[in-house]
């Protein structure tokens, strides 16, 4: 169960103490503590005000206090603001105009509100007999909820790998407003939100241009097309990444040239790039993996030495990170990012963006994303249908205000993991020493079979799209963690040059570091709202599971 919807009488319980109030308060405090979303139905506001006024008048009269009507309303509203401050407001929907055709419109609205959720994910808290009877087992008194909560609390909760519910709760008012605006103006393709998002991302990154596109993959494809990359061309990239990076190259007839990675960052090893440059090299495409920018200064310098080879930073995981004070995505000729939902800045579907400060490339990208069209029905180049929907831009706009806070939260969560794991694996308990070790911890110095990737290099920050560690016997460890309610993921199990679709095109064995790392990486749950208690549970279970996988002599 994830949601609780409150009937009017329950909210009034909180505002004006009366019989049963304590149970209601306790039930809601425990629900909140357990991470449930607590909703008040927005269509009930007038009823809430007047019922609270009525109950308040009665309660105060019993103590001999008589207030004017204006003051009663003022106090009732203050109580409602105070007591519902942590709750979400569930919007009334257009279809609810039809409730007047039913016997009890007020109840019908709440039943319809319940119907918007999966049946086992929500309960309606009420003291109303009619609703208790009508809601098909989905309605409970606070007392019955306390019994159910005790049962839930006794079972082991599965931790979410990525949990966006708290984020949604925080942005929901702006999110709904943005989506409604799009519904009302009706410009679903290249509407005003597209321009607004592009302007705000230009301001955020410092790049001269931002072109929103249909996905992160589309951002890479359109960038390569704008650079004129095609058959016979070579593009240097990393084998240790999501397949989209190499896929777009092959789609265009170009050849990916895979260069091995730096084990400290899992990003392309800049010191190995130069040896792979040939006369056919038309671009270098580093990926800023796990949220940490690649060695962009070194890569840009190599590109400059070889006739200004364009550099495309795949910043799908690193948008929001910085390198020498500059934003990832604005560190080279072109930067590409993804707004896939689980990304640090995600939408509610597919979306992406291209950043560049080159006017001609920006113009080319804009044309390519609309079928190569320079003006209506004039197709000056080959293009694709690659625009980002107005609705998805409206979602990203709602998230943007909270983005810097979320980056800080991700960094806090990552540092906590690092410190907890350093303590567990090295027995480091002094805070100062622990912080020092977090900065310098070498990859191969761990006392156990579990190793940490070093903290991000100096003068750069990571947005920790993933928090990834290195382990032995990964499958067994993952199975034990899964059984304990802790999900993990592998980013990525096989280097691209060893994937069936790519192995025949390149040298599958010539990136030994990537191959070794791919066998060991394991990502732990990571999101901005991951609690300290959950992290402690993850680390404790991880260490216990690791010990079981590798019992001592």
């Amino acid at each position: 169960m994830q949601h609780l919807l409150l009937d009017v009488n329950i909210v009034v319980d909180l505002c004006v103490p009366r019989a049963g109030t304590e149970q209601t308060e306790t039930a809601l405090a425990l629900a909140d503590e357990s991470g449930l979303s607590i909703w008040v139905y927005a269509g009930s506001v007038q009823t809430l005000e007047y019922v609270t006024v009525s109950e308040l008048r009665t309660a105060l009269a019993e103590t001999g206090t008589i207030l004017t009507r204006a003051e009663l309303h003022s106090r009732a509203k203050e109580l409602l603001v105070t007591m519902t401050a942590t709750f979400g407001w569930l919007a009334a929907l257009a279809g609810e105009g039809g409730v007047f055709a039913t016997e009890d419109p007020e109840d019908e609205q709440l039943i319809r509100a319940l119907d918007r959720f999966a049946a086992d994910s929500i309960r309606l808290l009420t003291r109303d007999k009619g609703l208790l009877a009508r809601a098909d087992g989905r309605a409970l008194t606070p007392e019955a909820w306390l019994v159910e909560w005790s049962r839930i609390a006794a079972t082991r909760r599965v931790i979410d790998f990525v949990d966006l519910r708290k984020q949604q709760a925080a942005i929901r008012p702006q999110l709904e407003l943005n989506l409604h605006r799009v519904l009302h103006h009706g410009q679903y393709i290249l509407g005003p939100e597209v321009r607004e998002l592009e302007e705000r991302l230009v301001a955020y990154t410092g790049a001269k241009h931002c072109i929103t596109v249909a996905s992160g993959t589309e951002a890479l494809l359109i960038s390569l097309m704008a650079l004129g990359i095609g058959p016979g061309d070579e593009v240097i990239t990393t084998p240790f990444t999501f397949v989209a990076t190499a896929e777009v190259l092959v789609l265009l007839g170009a050849t990916p040239v895979f260069v091995d990675i730096d084990p400290a960052t899992c990003n392309i090893d800049a010191s190995l790039i130069e040896a792979s440059i040939t006369a056919r090299t038309k671009a270098i495409m580093p990926v800023s993996l796990y949220g940490q920018p690649a060695d962009m200064d070194a890569i840009n310098a190599i590109a400059a030495r070889h006739g200004n080879i364009p550099v495309i930073e795949d910043a799908a995981q690193s948008f929001g990170a910085t390198y020498q004070g500059k934003q990832s995505g604005n560190l080279s000729t072109i930067g590409c990012t993804s707004f896939f939902p689980s990304k640090p800045l995600g939408c509610y579907g597919d979306g992406g963006a291209i950043f560049t400060s080159d006017d001609a490339l920006a113009q080319a990208c804009r044309e390519i994303r609309v079928h190569g069209q320079s003006k209506r029905y004039v197709h000056t180049r080959i293009g694709v249908g690659g625009r980002m929907d107005t609705l998805q831009c409206a979602v990203v706009l709602a998230k943007l205000d909270r983005f810097d806070h979320e980056i800080a939260q991700r960094q806090t969560v990552a540092r906590r993991y690092h410190e907890l794991l350093a303590t567990e694996t090295h027995g480091i308990t002094r805070q100062e020493e622990r912080e020092e070790r977090v900065r310098v911890l070498p990859c191969d110095s761990m006392a156990t079979n579990l190793r940490l990737l070093p903290w991000p290099k100096a003068h750069r920050t990571s947005v920790f799209a993933q928090y990834t560690i290195l382990v032995e016997d990964r499958d067994a460890l993952q199975a034990r963690l899964h059984a304990a309610g802790i999900p993990t993921a592998v980013h990525y199990p096989v280097p691209l040059n060893a994937q069936p679709a790519y192995a025949h095109r390149c040298c599958p064995d010539c990136t030994p570091v990537a191959q070794a790392i791919a066998r060991q990486v394991m990502s732990l749950p990571m999101h901005p709202d991951l609690s300290e208690a959950d992290q402690q549970r993850i680390v404790t279970t991880l260490m216990q599971s690791e010990a079981l996988c590798h019992p001592g002599p």
Partner: protein, 106 residues
């Protein structure tokens, strides 16, 4: 099977030791045995669950904020004059209250 249970301080305890397959089972209690006839409206009080200190602290803070509003002395004794709309809304909600009372609802 029928099971006898002792009700004490809001908790049912089986009269004889029982081993059940599930944590939660349903007991049917005759209306004649209830102090108040509506079982769903007034579920028997349950033993208070273990409430973490953090929740206790939050509850105390919440109650303090509410009580401060409730106990504040009246700001003015002068009754405000109702607008026509306010008076109409008052009558409407009095009507709602009366209708729900007639239906036996809260």
């Amino acid at each position: 099977m029928n099971v006898q249970a002792i009700w004490e301080d809001g908790v049912f305890r089986p009269a004889h030791p029982l081993i059940l397959k599930r944590h939660l089972v349903t007991l049917t209690v005759s209306d004649d045995d209830l102090e108040v006839p509506s079982a769903q409206m007034c579920s028997p009080p349950v033993a208070p669950p273990q409430i973490p200190d953090t929740v206790q602290a939050r509850l105390a803070a919440q109650r303090a904020r509410r009580d401060e509003i409730l106990r504040r002395p009246p700001a003015s004794a002068a009754p405000a004059v109702l607008t026509q709309e306010q008076a109409q809304r008052d009558r409407a909600f009095a009507e709602r209250r009366a209708w729900r009372h007639e239906q036996g609802r809260s």
